[in-house]
Amino acid sequence: MRILIADDDTISRRLLEKTLEREGYEVIAVDNGRLALQQLSLPDGPRLANLG
């Protein structure tokens, strides 16, 4: 499953990204809401989003 992380805190974003990748998830990490919306509007976009 593909998961989106949106957080402007680089350390928190990287920590969560690595944790989810270790669990076998495909992760897309962005640092702002505009990029998050872009990802969520894609036809094959992430199924779950964590918005920091």
Partner: protein, 124 residues
């Protein structure tokens, strides 16, 4: 005050706890330290500018970022100070603001050598 309870005698960053949290991924820890060293100084400089301008809303926002960054790195005491500053910003309460900023600066200067020592050890 006993040495155990004296904040000045405590480590600034709990690296063993952080390593457990990141599954002992030392490469990731080195990456996080690099990010921290680059981004903390930028955010702290912004904080100082907000304080000079008396912009408490901006103090709140910047300290929210600092708190998240410090918590992520298991720099618990510094994170607590940043959280206090964030609350001051939220309350628009500037009493004691300069003291709290100075305290955060001191804590940052204390944790830098700890991070540098880890990096030197990891890279040797």
């Amino acid at each position: 005050m006993t040495q155990q309870n004296d904040p000045s005698s405590q480590v600034a960053v709990n690296l063993p706890e952080l390593l457990v949290r990141i599954d002992n991924d030392r490469d990731l820890l080195l990456e996080l330290i690099e990010i921290f060293k680059e981004e903390f100084s930028q955010l702290f400089q912004q904080l100082q500018e907000h304080v000079v301008r008396g912009d408490m809303k901006a103090v709140e926002k910047t300290c929210h970022g600092l708190r998240g960054m410090l918590s992520g790195l298991s720099a618990d005491h510094a994170a607590t100070i940043a959280a206090r500053l964030e609350q001051m910003g939220r309350d628009r309460d500037s009493s004691g603001l300069n003291d709290a900023v100075a305290l955060l600066d001191r804590e940052y200067k204390k944790l830098l050598p700890e991070l540098d020592a880890f990096m030197t050890k990891a890279e040797s």
